[in-house]
Symmetry: D2
Subunit: 356 residues, 4 copies
């Protein structure tokens, strides 16, 4: 109830603060017999890890995962899977100086208001480091989905105002911004470095696509697949908007344009377009599920900013340290994880809710 | 778990199909002693009701609410509040002819895939009529919020490509499209009627603002206020996108533009802008909470459309009957209800999660 | 969260007060395609209804059920099933006189403390009338279980100190106390009538048996089948104890006596005894599940009792009206319903949690 | 949903297997500002630890707790509290020989049926070692309760057929069986050692009392305090029965005996007896809450037993190793923890559900 649990049939709870001992996740609801190892998890964590390129923070964080329970002889047992990543070499000293200042665009002020207190060390629980636990949970969800042939892939479609124009999936993991358009990627990287040089940051748009999701997945009314995906993605710290399929563009369409016509061929139903983004009435259509998120520019910038301190006095802040000038490339694996968690949950819920 | 329940501390479950006996809601979690009557609910239902103007469906539905439990001597007792609206004068005959055809842009195909079966009468459970229950639940939530001075107001900011340019709150309930700009409202109405004349429909954008929400509301990580609002709003049938504060525009900002600077004056913290939309790190800042939704054009249009039937054969469909050429005006009270439900839930959850 | 919801995959929420407009239940999680009608529900309600015999209250309550949603053409649709029983001919006048007095052994005092308020009319929400909703929900659960060959049967094994000594299942519904031993039943009836003549009441023990439950049902740790059954049964107003299998007798056994030896014959595992009551480690063994509950004597007695009023003044109370001198016979269908609800929930949860 | 989560407002999830890397717990819902340290937890774990006396298993398990998150500068932060106990020096070799045999009275057979698989090492997830996590969670719950002056204490009232006759609370932690009657304790110890000498085991009864619980705690209908306590206690592996207040004895009382008369004195309401065990209508009365549990004799005995193996063949088993000949003394802290968890959850839920 207090926000640290996600999912119902496939449920994760995450814990840990940025500069605490460890961050971790417990996954409940995984069926017995799924082959899984620390390498399956590590592979995804390595995509989220800082220090991958010039456009991410140069902080060194190894982020090695350790599975504590729920796996025996290489397979899940049906018991909860607990996983830990120890926090190593955290340097809280640079936060000492700003421990009484609320960083603009961060959770400092609101956490202080909520909890009457502040873990100033690197953002505490509100730190992006918490997403390690999500990616670890998502890695297990991806394994479950893979058993059904479902895959989830994410990529940047816009960064610093530069839009991708082509789609070559092979390209995504080859460039520093995780963009499927090589030329656009180069421009995006440049835009990020330009902002970085000025002590500023840029935002962007990330798209996530889920393939081979069977028709009929999701729940009616409040449990719509799109609603669960919206919640999942909007729960990522930097995300300020979510759209499914045509999204905001649908608001400017006519009904005759927006409706996806249906045709049958070879016994299969095909849609002539995918404005619905693979979801109608909250239930999957069998088409690709397509979601896009608006990622705000990283709030930690070294340009001086006006703020107040915990005593209510006006002040200014200049944030030092090694921050991502654009978080999009590292949001990609997190967003994939969130969509995978939603789909794995829907899949297991579905199994309980078949028909007679 | 199966999608018909919303909320945790303040919880509603809705039931009922478009052409069944009744639609209703049970609200659990309302504290004892809240003064409430059927008129409080009816007032909101009347805003959602069809037949209000030329731009909504001319169907006549009285939608009178009846409170069955949980209220004694004009006050809540702490027991669940059940409310019913009987379905009267439903005419299922026009649906008989298209009972084997999947209407494009509707839940017909996906419900059939999920449940192996179809309640063809007016959309069954997937009908917009289900939102009666949401509005009734939201009316109680609004009463709870009002006790804390919190209000929720919604309005159309764009319809059929026409954008509102002014904001006069008094104007909203005076025009047929619930727009706060009188001139724009007139143009929007015209655009809707033009589409209607061609048997087509238009979409739009609705904004919802919550005022006087105290700083510190919401939960960390997955339970972020923005995440809950996104889920709530995306669970409305016609909604394809949700954004908070600057939303998708934030993706094109620099960090130095997007961060809302903070200043203290007279012992109070004020923000210089509200790109955050009143939420930082998932917790309310004390500013206005601002959300916007993309509403797709009504899928029920009388222009002929290509589709398939339940046997997998190609066919065409021409939907007759009295449908809303633009659903935005009637989405407004539903969206307000959803935001009110989220805030009432957060408020009660908060009470359980204070500090020592 | 506030106590009116039961179950997870198969979930019910009940509403309504003793002297309100109606009592009802909404069931969520029923799969599509289950054949069900009002007669399936009514049959069970008739077993719970007052006025069945000399040993129950002579109050006349028709308790006719009405299905409002979730059933179309005689089959469930997968949507929530709402059911209502209207309260008819309730006479609140006799409660007027005692509206400021706390009836001993009832929830009057504690509800007043919790809600700061009291619905004095017939116990309000704490009334046994609320169990109508449980029995209605249980009737649907029984239909689901029947599809898997599972049945649930309950009966009185002890009333007013008289113990049943034989077990003839045919006998149960033939006598007024729902006892499987004809001779004991006659004595039990006599004991009840003797207490009634003195304005007093008696308690007893009810046993519930579930048959054909497959081995492997239930969840580990906190979700043990025995734990869920204990909660379900202890949530019945008059129940003060629950035991599974050997129950409290197990506390006096040696390990060598208590352990149920296992033998294999014809490829099937058989247990030599059933001290476990069909549950080991919280998971079903495939044997009969056997639970017993201690039912306290009805607190509403006409013998004068010492009490206090809502202003804290000492007083005495003499409860008039038509109360059950022993509630056991009417607890039987309620207890069956609760066990059926637990098993249906476990069954659906199980489907989501198979193995790879 | 899969059984490893307990509670709602105050929620714990436990993980870990007997012979895995670690057992642990994550607690969600603890408010910020509660002073807590590893010593608070360790104190309770030391009461549960094996090897405390001649009547418990002589296994050496240090069981040192480590807090990983949610505590900063000695106080809770409102973030989830994760705690670990590493499994050290586990010897799985003795389980190798019996890895294909189902131990009678244990979860071996049922887990195999449920998960299609068996972690034979010391019972895996079904091991009593899992209760370390419960006791750790309960220790935090006790701290929360202590802030409200509420305490929870448990003790053995019967072991091997020997009943306690006196109550001297000081005595409880002084003897090996945690009995409040010194003379009875000596006899109980003797009975246990006698059974042990024969390779057998004995059961008993443990009582748990909660003091200073304010009137008005708990939820109506399904969420009754007694129902939650029953579930909590019946979820302990060895427990086969639960009773509240007079419990099964109430079944043999008259209404005039069982009802607790109420008197007012000095502005306070007092009850003349406590047959209700501190709970009426599911809500606390303000009296002591009294629960009793039936603890079955330890199933692991060295006397040979008939059983079958995983291939369905008849066999016999003689369980070697160091098992508790009576588990009651070590169940005491676990049962206290479970009651503390229920009360802390009810307390936080209550805060969200006050009155206007």
């Amino acid at each position: 109830m207090s926000g640290n649990v996600f999912g119902k049939s496939f449920q994760i709870i995450t814990f840990g603060e940025s500069h605490g001992k460890a961050v971790g996740v417990v996954i409940d609801g995984v069926q017995a017999g799924l082959r899984i190892g620390e390498d399956d998890i590590q592979k995804e964590l390595d995509r989220r890890r800082p220090g991958q390129s010039a456009v991410t923070t140069p902080r060194k964080e190894e982020d090695k995962v350790e599975i504590l329970s729920g796996v025996f002889e290489g397979k899940t047992t049906g018991a909860p899977i607990a996983m830990l990543v120890w926090n190593k070499g955290m340097d809280s000293s640079k936060y000492e100086k700003i421990k009484d200042l609320f960083r603009p665009g961060q959770a400092d002020f609101t956490y202080f208001k909520k909890f009457g207190f502040r873990d100033y060390r690197g953002g505490g629980r509100a730190s992006g480091r918490e997403t390690i636990a999500r990616v670890a949970g998502g890695a297990v969800a991806k394994k479950i989905l893979a058993k059904k042939g479902i895959s989830v892939v994410g990529y940047s479609t816009e960064i610093g105002g530069i839009k991708a124009k082509k789609f070559d999936e092979q390209e995504i993991e080859r460039n520093s911004v995780r963009c499927a358009d090589k030329q656009a990627a180069a421009k995006m990287e440049k835009a990020i470095l330009a902002a970085k040089a000025k002590g500023d940051s840029v935002g962007g748009i990330v798209e996530i696509v889920a393939r081979n999701v069977p028709a009929g997945l999701g729940e009616p009314v409040f449990g719509k697949l799109g609603a669960e995906i919206a919640k999942a993605l909007m729960s990522i710290g930097a995300v300020k908007g979510v759209e499914i399929g045509a999204g905001f563009a649908a608001a400017r369409m006519k009904g005759s344009e927006c409706n996806d016509a249906m045709r049958s061929s070879g016994g299969k139903v095909a849609f002539k377009s995918n404005n619905a983004g693979g979801i109608l009435g909250g239930i999957s259509t069998g088409q690709e599920i397509v979601a896009r998120i608006a990622v705000k520019p990283t709030p930690s910038i070294s340009i001086p900013q006006k703020t107040v301190d915990i005593h209510g006095k006006n002040s200014a802040i200049k944030i030092k340290g090694m921050h991502d000038p654009c978080i999009c490339p590292r949001v990609v694996p997190v967003a994939e994880a969130m969509v995978a968690l939603v789909l794995a949950d829907a899949l297991l819920t579905q199994q309980a809710r078949g028909k007679y």
